[in-house]
Amino acid sequence: MIDTPTVDWLALSPTIALLAAAGIALLSVLLPPWMRKGVSAGVALVGFVVAAGLAGWVFDESAAPEALLEGSMVRDQLAALAQLILAVTGAAVVLASWGERRRENHAEYYALLATAGAGMVFFVGAGDLMTLFLGLEWFSLCLYVLVAFDNERETSLEAGLKYLIVGGLGSAVLLFGSALVYGATSELSFGAIASADVASDAFLYAGLAMILAGLAFKVSAAPFHMWTPDVYQGSPTALTAFMSAATKVAALVITLRILVTAFPAQANVWTIAVAVLAAISLVWGNLGALAQRDLKRILAYSSISHAGFMLMAVAANTALGGEALLYYLVPYCAMSVGAFAVVAARERELQAPVTLESLAGMGWERPYHGIALWIFMLGMAGFPLTGGLFGKLFVFSAAYDAGDWWLVLVGVAATAVSLGYYLNVVRWLYMRTGTELRVALAGGSPPRDSALNVAIAAAVAVTIGSFFVVQPILDAASDAAASLPF
């Protein structure tokens, strides 16, 4: 008789809910064709909403962190809050995906989306190097397929291949790093690595560097970002929204967790490394975005620069930094999903890639989408009346508090540069008209897409709401940050 470990089903429930949703969504291929899309999307939506509810419940019930399954998983408020953000993001993405014109394979799309969500939800609760890698591959494999999902489009296939190769490299680096760390410490679980006797410093530092690099691929921090613009551009737009928001949440939260719990003794090294990554991302992301004409590429580079801002918070290595990161994720996810949703709407209307030129006059023709995109751009630039302002403020405060005042100045300069492209989008929306540029106008009314509009409205509400209702979000963030041993 083998002793089975006790399983904390509640802690695993968000993952299980999403897996169940994926399974049921797949079964919808047994239904008549006209029902498949509705049923699979509905099931995926329900799955994400239920997962969000369960994650909220776990958050309430986990005042003290608990190790699960021999330390391979962690149940704490950090994981629960990240799961909540991930699940809500996923639900918004399901809504944004609804109007995608796709002839078949609806069931597979939504099933993969829910599975990817389940993988991320699992990933943020990882407690040792095994589950870390397992979770990473779980959601990455789903994303590789999803990126290449529109296989009648060349760009989608190209993006899928690129993502597969570069992502595979990232995973391999992470795995190799994990092996080195295990070799140096003979431990797998994060807590045990921190307290283990280190056999070889060189192995440990090399392993730490490789783990950091592997995660930086997923965060799309420069200089590990090169896949980002191409993949974001080529993927189905609703999926790009998911990748830019959810993948970042998962990867950043786990980066914070592993660095703080497994490598506190090496903090003097990795804080500098992360600060440098942040600075490079800020510089490269913003300068890169200035040169782009395609809106998805602009947003891709902007997501690199946001990775830089959030890594600033990680580099602080303080509870304040953890709070800042978790707060930042909330408006960031909303703005990111919202902005890509507007791009998706424009793309569906024009049946062409959305460039700056094709935004000309959109603010006046499609006031709802125009105002929404305006708000998201201002939010990403950190203007008031959006949570983006507080996100920047908290991140800067954390960095200043940790003594990284030079990083604050880099962040300020990066913000100044970022106005160049964020306000440029606003300029095209409102200050250029399509007729003067002789761009082919879509004309008439846009295709009705209530689900997408609901997702955009929710994103606007969160973007603006997180400016006025700061304290509750910050309280949750500080509870979550408290579950790490700063």
Binding site: P384, L389, F390, D401, V408, A416, L419, L423, R427, S478
Partner: protein, 476 residues
Amino acid sequence: MLTTALILFPIAAALVVAILPLPRETTAGLALLAALMEVGLWITAVTQFDFDDGSLQLGTTREWVESLGISYSVGFYGFSLWLVGASVVVFAAAIGYALWAGRERTRAYHALMLLLLGAVVATFTAQDLLLFYAAFELMLIPLYVLVGVWGGERRQAATVTFVIYTMAGSLLMLASVVAFGVTQGTFSLTAGETSDNVWIFLGFAIAFAVKAPLFPFHGWLPLAYREAPVEVAAVLSAVVSKTAIYGFIRIGLESFPEPADDLSGLILVLACAGLVYGSLLAFRAPDLRGVIAYSSMAQMGLITVGVFAFDDLGLDGAILQSVAHGLVSASMFLLVGMVERRCGTSDVDALGGMARGRPSLTTVVLIAGLIALAVPGSATFAGEFLIMAGAYDQGWGYSVVVALGIVLAAMYTLRVISAILHVEPGRAVRKEALDLRPGELALVLPLLLLLLGLSVWPAVVSQSAFAASTLAEILP
């Protein structure tokens, strides 16, 4: 509570105007009504305000981000009450002008104007650094669109330079806000925390110097003032620039007494340079808008001299001059707009001879011009005199420069008056160009009447801007 009402009412009105699908005239009329009601609210605030009491009045404080010490805290001091007064009046006139000029895309236009009004009032009343920053930044959003969409031919270039300059300043201010807030543990301005860090002060000072603008941070000014719709230019020069003065007094002097004192020499020299340089540029500018734009820069230099005179006379004069200049430059810009609508240009060369057969225009331009050039007895003269007297303590040289500034002001203002009214009729002036219509008079006359009232009784502002206890706090 009244302060909050003054901030939220225009923002709520902006939402209503933006959402209700009303006909154009009704929309614009609704916006004007809202602006007038805002003036009414301000008058209520004046009646309830006790000018002898130096503490924060009519305020509200609510926790916002407790863990970082950020609060929603607003309220009035005497000087901010007067600055808000000038703002609401100028906005009412500007929105009235937009109604009369019939701006395209009416709903968006008026919603943005009202949003801007709310942001301006919030900036003048903010008692928390973060709230101040947010309001200060928020002004930029409507301004960006107002200039970029409804501006003149080179509006895009104007918005780009305007935004680059302003944001460069604002972001330095954000860094300073973070540094101040984190080191003091609170963002509140009422907690009485002071800092002696020169770098943090510089971050604020540069942001304000760009907004004012002070020499040499004025690169955005000529394009923005020339390309903006004329009533937006009026608001920019009359009201938005004064937020810098408020910032210098409320944050610069009160929270950074030592750095402000240390750097006052530098700031005074720059302000004086801007006063002379702006005046000379105004004298040489080829168009009316350019003249008023550069004169506005000169006047901001003058007001800054008053602020950094570290003297009660200087501060009183700075506030009086802020209010008076706000009303004058708004009337001048609106008058230029009316001339532009008749002649299609504001080039000095192409204008002239409009006095003949146009008595209302002549009278109004003359009155506004005379007040602008600070004839003895006018409110602007009183303000400039107070500033000159206040600056004397810092060094007689500053007073001489201020006096020189007054002479130069006379030169460029007389040039404007004669360019519009006198000499031979210019090529752009057609015989059938009408005199001012009653609607236009209704926009400008209230501003001029207020200026005349202020000329008769300047003490109403200068004596009540700072209560004795406030002055004791500000001045070393």
